[in-house]
Assembly symmetry: C2
Homo-oligomer: 404 residues x 2
């Protein structure tokens, strides 16, 4: 039997009692004959507490120090789990990023794993240990502690599974799998038994919070089967894996939404080459991510340009764009944060024509105005008025079951 990597999120390790549950799950795999690596997040709320502490010390905390500070949460949970396991008679050993070592670049707060040294872990597995690894953290070439961004423990788990050629990577969370859409919004949402890497990636990118997008990219790259499971029940679970015939028969896999969106429109810009560059370069210099971008066809030498940013970045983006707008001779800048993005995702789209048209008609029938559209091979996203979010999801979910 091979190696299984198990990852547990913050709600699964929120206190010592819950950590005992995690121990039970690790022991079950061990007793079934597997080698076991457990990857943990910090206790629920702890990372936020540390972030608040950093911001009470300085408005813009030094990033190196910030990462070292917020990485302590995982050190607490992995040592507690190892203490519990050892006291239950199972040899266990915790590993921090530097002890593994999990090498990353030096992009603090959003570092990327570049290499995992598997030697120390392999030695411990050979001794029969359950190996418990801190998620979310690594070290750069100079032994500075780095963190992998929100949800980074998912990526730690998948990266370890890839590096150590695990049989599978189980992501335990507080829901029992990946759903067609958010069950809190649409009562008809149902759990998917299986989803392709690409679909999962689009879902994660467009608002589903169940997995960090980067972890899905990595799972796809190294072909790691990922199971999303509940840490509280044994039922359910969703397998994220390679596309297969079965998936292609279904047109759509899921519907996601993202209410953390703001729309910015630059009106009546003299249409000359280099406009987009002059607008977006200052934004990227300020680390503001732009999501959707739409430029209308030029009419009489003028054009409008609309794009979306994260709500938290709206004010700064507006200020920045207003300065550029003046320089390039645009008429004005309009902002709107009363919007949401709704997306439909499915590998079946590729071979089924007319999915987009059906989506637009379904929304039009309900009187929902579409402000922006963006598409990929397996995804269509629409920006709509925020108040229509639930309605759009509900009617599109019907459409999901009745594609023709």
């Amino acid at each position: 039997m091979g190696l299984v990597v198990q990852k547990f999120g913050g709600t699964s390790v929120a206190n010592v009692e819950k950590i005992r549950n995690v121990a039970t799950r690790a022991i079950r795999e061990k007793n079934a004959g597997h080698d076991v690596i457990v990857v943990l997040s910090a206790m629920a709320g702890e990372t936020n507490r540390l972030i608040d502490l950093a911001h009470s010390a300085a408005e813009s905390p030094d990033e190196r120090e910030y990462d070292s500070l917020i990485s302590t949460g995982e050190q607490v949970t992995i040592t507690l789990l190892s203490i519990v396991l050892n006291s239950m008679g199972y040899r266990a050993r915790s590993f921090l990023g530097f002890q593994v070592k999990i090498l990353t670049d030096t992009a603090y707060k959003k570092a990327r794993i570049s290499m995992i040294d598997t030697l120390a872990i392999e030695q411990e597995l050979k001794k029969g240990s359950i190996v418990v690894v801190a998620g979310f953290q690594g070290v750069d070439e100079e032994n500075n502690i780095t963190t992998l961004g929100r949800g980074g423990s998912d990526t730690s788990a998948v990266a370890l599974a890839a590096a150590l050629h695990a049989e599978r990577c189980d992501i335990y969370t507080d829901v029992d799998g990946v759903y067609t859409t958010d069950p809190n919004v649409c009562a008809k949402a149902r759990r998917l038994d299986k989803i392709s890497y690409d679909e999962m990636l689009e879902m994660a990118m467009t608002g589903a919070k169940v997995l960090q997008p980067r972890s899905v990219e990595m799972a796809k790259k190294y072909d790691v089967p990922v199971y999303v499971k509940s840490s509280f029940t044994d039922a359910g679970g969703t397998l994220v894996t390679k596309e297969d015939k079965e998936m292609e028969r279904e047109i759509l896999s899921g519907i996601t939404y993202d209410r953390d969106q703001a729309k910015i429109t630059v009106v009546h810009i003299p249409d000359k080459p280099g406009i987009a560059a002059s607008l977006f370069t200052p934004l990227s210099e300020r680390n503001i991510s732009v999501d959707m971008i739409i430029q209308n066809a030029s009419s009489q030498g003028f054009t409008d340009l609309t794009f979306t940013v994260s709500k938290k970045d709206m004010k700064e983006a507006q200020k920045c764009v207003e300065a550029t707008a003046k320089d390039i001779g645009a008429q004005k800048v309009e902002v709107d944060d009363d919007v949401a993005k709704v997306s439909i995702i499915g590998v079946g789209m590729v071979s089924h024509s007319g999915v987009a048209a059906k989506m637009f008609k379904t929304m039009a029938d309900e009187g929902i105005n579409i402000m922006m559209i963006s598409t990929s091979e397996i995804k269509i996203s629409c920006v709509i008025q925020r108040k229509y979010t639930e309605l759009a999801i509900t009617v599109l979910h019907l459409f999901l079951h009745r594609p023709d």
Copy 2:
């Protein structure tokens, strides 16, 4: 100007506001032209919180995991201080034990520093950084995190001062120096301007909590001048340094007490070789430290043996000794935890005869019965009934000022 090492204890870094005070003190030395290394403890109460957490996970937590868990407290304070310093325009960089690296043996919970790699710190100092180092922690040869025992940050600070040839090591604490005795017990206690390493060591060993004994040993070994100072006022301070003529003129420097003592007597033991070994070997195997030991002269082939242990170890020590007592044919085992140890310390004792006699007479005059006596060249300790502790200190403190 040379290097100054500053160490701040838990009450000095109890919250972000107090950490700002620490920043101010570090900046003052920096602005005066010194290179500065700051060594920090965890926030007051944090290490205890982590210890409780470990014990809620298991009765006897795995020691490797325990050390890794309780070392997180210092990671929080050093990164917060570095964040504050950077935000104030001073380049600062935190170092954990593994980042320095501070190499120790693998005796978890009470590790000893074996080597400090000074390269990374020296490079940062050259760049003009204030270097902030986690006290209390190190790593062993295999990168396991170790801790140095209660008060271990004192030792971290002195060890860094020694390794980097610092001009001095300032230990900031919540009292403004070393006192002749505990001011809470004796109103006449006065601050010492200077004390020798040996006296400080005896005071630390016999109950004064101001410095970890091991830090004093190390300061003596490498001749590091140590200043004990208040982190809240600029007044006062005590220099711990080499003996000098001035010190020798004073007979006594201080009076200490320790109420954390329990006395165990094994009565009527057949006096044969190997008795002591058979009694104390099982205790040391259980990691129980024995302090004073007295064996009465044998009378008609039988002897009594009395020793003291820490109160927390009394029950286990009793059980262990009762088993041995039976084996070696002793009559019975008596325990008494209603005792205290009072000690007088001074390098002047060596050249002044009769100090012990005067101490005993002073106590006898007050009707204080002495149960056990132990002496070193510069110290006399007496075990007395616990209720006489304050009285003994008060009358002995008079004697300190009126030695003849």
